[in-house]
Symmetry: C2
Subunit: 436 residues, 2 copies
């Protein structure tokens, strides 16, 4: 078999066989196929696409390229959750304790943030002492005994995806639905869960800008999951403004604690309940997603999910008292209020710009090597739909050593004001794969 034959087949619109996909993925991972042929094939896939069968085969090739985690010796239906990434997305911090409180074992591998989006591991590490590095035995043992563990992603899972993603990143082949879907789903499958709930962020601040793109990605991932025998649901959620009121690390943990204390923060609360209820249903806590909703709302209102978070923090070496006293989390020395130049109604809060503004304050990474300032971040004083007067505070920047100049400009421009009241959009746009 020759890689050039595979490239030619794909560029001419052909359907790659299992052998051809494996030949490419294995050969590239082992360094037998050079970067320049891999990138030519990836660009051909960008144009010609992949059908369901090919995308599933690619996913499985990624899975088989490295280790996989076997959770079968942990009783119960293990439900994983993944977000395609947004601004202010602290949903995992909340839904994982919620579903663990409902008796669903949670064995979660999470990532770090880059650019304008944050990562769950970074947010958890803003809790003093919290450790996300642990070996597989300890990870599984914690899930078995206390029902929930959250660890950083290990390099031993899906090395093919890691190497191919790095090449896609520099050859403009990231934004291909089959390639994105295979990348995400392979990591979920290698992590060993039984069912998967995907939060597909949609809108200006997300990777998928339009509902059509989001729907296509969601359907592709649901198809892969089903093809490979994993119940999969994708919830399309709104990302035209940041999720919730906090963007950063420690401040997002605080906001998560507020929700776990029963506060119904608009936008964020709806997404948390929707995702948790799908996870609870798939995990067997309720016969339908609808009947799972009141269970979720109960653990939020009664504080049992908050207790689960407290135990999780203690289990992983963190200062569990932050749950009662969030001021123990890192606090920024300086703040600057960003005020409105005019009166009007907030039409939009450009999430990407808020994300980059937070990054420049130290809350995010411009390059993988950057160190984070856990205390840095942005508090949104208003959200879309609000009426503001001239001079009102739109948002507040929190920082230590950073120069807030650029962030202030970005944050100010992110608030788009108009004369007419903005139409309220729902937080949940669509659900794909729920009817099974």
């Amino acid at each position: 078999m020759q890689i050039t034959d595979i490239i030619r087949k794909k560029k001419n619109g052909g359907v790659l066989s299992a052998e051809e996909i494996t030949f490419f993925v294995d050969g590239y991972t082992k360094g037998e196929i050079p970067d320049y042929q891999a990138s030519a094939l990836l660009m051909a896939i960008w144009f010609a696409g992949m059908n369901k069968e090919e995308t599933s085969l690619l996913t499985m090739s990624y899975v088989h390229s490295g280790e996989t985690i076997d959770l079968s010796d942990i009783p119960g239906i293990k439900v994983d959750k993944h977000s395609t990434g947004g601004v202010g997305d602290k949903v995992s911090l909340i839904v994982l304790p919620v579903v663990a409180s409902l008796g669903i074992p949670v064995a979660k591998l999470s990532g770090r943030g880059l650019g304008h989006t944050g990562g769950t591991v970074d947010k958890l590490e803003s809790i003093p002492g919290f450790c996300t590095e642990m070996d597989l035995d300890r990870f599984k043992n914690q899930v078995r005994t206390h029902g929930v563990a959250i660890a950083g992603q290990t390099g031993h899972l899906t090395p093919a995806d890691k190497k191919i993603y790095a090449l896609r990143d520099v050859t403009e082949t990231v934004d291909s639905i089959p390639l994105i879907a295979a990348s995400i789903m392979s990591k979920k499958l290698a992590a060993g869960s039984d069912a998967i709930v995907l939060d597909v962020k949609t809108g200006e601040g997300a990777f998928m800008k339009s509902l059509e793109e989001s729907r296509a990605l969601a359907q592709t991932m649901v198809d892969i999951g089903r093809h490979l025998g994993k119940r999969t649901v994708a919830v399309l959620t709104e990302m035209n403004e940041p999720l919730g009121r906090e963007i950063g690390n420690a401040n997002e943990v605080k906001e998560a604690i507020s929700i776990l204390r029963g506060e119904k923060i608009p936008g964020l609360y709806e997404v948390v309940v929707e995702i948790s209820a799908y996870m609870a249903w798939l995990g067997g806590a309720a016969p339908t997603q609808e009947t799972a909703r009141p269970l979720v709302e109960k653990v939020l209102q009664e504080g049992s999910a908050l207790k689960t978070l407290k135990r999780l923090i203690a289990d992983q070496g963190g200062d569990a008292n932050v749950v009662e006293d969030p001021d123990r989390l890192p606090q920024a020395a300086n703040h600057r209020e960003v005020c409105s130049d005019r009166a009007g109604f907030v039409q939009q809060i450009i999430a990407t710009d808020i994300g980059y503004a937070a990054m420049h304050l130290g809350a995010g990474r411009q390059t993988k090597e950057d160190r984070l300032d856990y205390a840095a971040g942005i508090h949104l004083n208003h959200r879309v739909g609000d009426r503001v007067e001239k001079g009102d505070v739109l948002c507040t920047l929190w920082y230590n050593d950073a120069d807030p100049q650029e962030s202030e400009q970005l944050a100010k421009a992110a608030f788009v004001l108009g004369d007419e009241p903005a139409k309220e959009k729902g937080s949940i746009l669509e659900v794909v794969g729920a009817l099974s």
Copy 2:
């Protein structure tokens, strides 16, 4: 400027600017842009194409990447000729002496053969002593004093094309009309001629299999030529059977001599007259291509073109007596006749297979490093349209050390016989760019 921005623009169907094309070509040639980004861009061009303006800009970027030859101090209109490559294509060996005999200065850089196609330089080197390597001063001096010189291509011209072609060759991005057109035209433009006649071979034995593809390539090259101020004509010629009766090196020289002695070998003669007449017209020897034809036929019949070839051979150190005594050319020790298993009419002679059969006898190169056997080759005893009986000799293989087994099978299978007389196809299919 970032190469990723250029890749993204092209993959999304954008039109690249002069700055972007130059940034890519220069950056890649200098090694500042890695292979994997260049191949991603080339595949994006394969899919998204390039418009006339972009293709001309790419051509000029190739030209400017290296040295160019200035022929302006040689009086007269210098007309170059290029063939896209076929089997048995000895047209240059004939038309260059023909147009030189009409007073048109010929300064020709030619290539070597690879795979199933031959090269003019290899054919000339089958003449004992003939040298195709010379410095630019000697080359130009020979054109100035004797009207014609033929040299091998130098590595100093269009190095960008050379490097990009090598990458295209291993990334399945060769068969892109703008990329082919820019590659061919840049070499012609760097070589300094005033006008260009292109022989676009069309059919099974050629790179362009269909008339539609050939027409598109021809039009693209004619557009580039005009855009850059060079009168350019493309003649689409038939390549569903080999051109003429000889395939090899020394035997093709012999066949060229036969034509220059006035023999009207079917198929070959028509192409020679057509191409020569376009070159003669563009070179100013006649007011139209039609009026140039009798001039061409005259130099063929009266032997003045043969005398020009003789002087060219002598000028370049070769044994000029081969012109009167072609048996002085290398002769093969062995031959094998390939006979027909059945009676019928020859419907097709698959040119690619005849080309590979000749290659296996030693007449062509499988890899660039292979040495040629100048005496090896194939003589076609029949052509399309002929009636053959069972046992008739279809073709004769000539060889020295090679094992003729594989060539015999290939050559036999190349002759497609049928019960009905085959329709005679013309050798000249179409002409693009003649009306200017």
